[in-house]
Subunit: 118 residues, 2 copies
């Protein structure tokens, strides 16, 4: 059973390119907030806000040890969206299969007639 | 190779719940613009605008025969986003596998010491 508000939150998080870039970085391994802020030339506060959005919809998790907050990707966090896509793709692919069958049948019909003529 | 502007366009299209609902409807089979407008209580013009957005990023295609425009889902239209998700999930799952291995090794270590003591 798909949770629609969960999918909505994930899409709202992913639509912002910086948050996608953060996820791309974290999918290669954990990073501290400072490490995440550096390549984007963003302030610590701006990155923190993006991280809070990603954490709220369980795409990442973070842990603060002393003064350092380390972030890591949440395995399976993108699963609800992947499931939604899979549900949309499978019927579409079935439609394509049916179209393929119809075309194959159409393609065979004149051939049969031709065979009969010979 | 992932096309980032393509993924961006797909996410901008999907973030709007009505457009997701249209895709959900079309994944069950083709529909005319009037058929799509009806359940949402939307005007023909408003639905057309959403359909144009979906068609621009190749999530659907439409064909006008006479005065009737029929829409269908574009098979593979969601593939770029599915690929982006897969690229994010695989490394995360690898990290989880490595964590599992470390935990398994940690779990074995005291056992080995215990065995040595016996």
């Amino acid at each position: 059973m798909l949770n629609y508000s969960e999918i909505d939150n994930i899409l709202r998080a992913l639509v912002e390119p910086t948050r996608r870039a953060i996820l791309e970085r974290l999918s290669r391994g954990p990073a501290t907030v400072s490490q995440l802020a550096e390549p984007f030339g963003m302030t610590f506060a701006a990155v923190l806000q993006h991280l809070q959005t990603l954490e709220a919809c369980e795409l990442i998790r973070s842990e603060k040890i002393g003064r350092v907050r380390t972030c890591r990707i949440e395995p399976g966090g993108l699963a609800p969206l992947a499931d939604w896509i899979a549900e949309r793709r499978i019927p579409a692919e079935r439609q394509l299969d049916r179209l393929g069958q119809i075309l194959a049948e159409t393609d065979q019909s004149p051939k049969k007639n031709q065979d009969q003529k010979q």
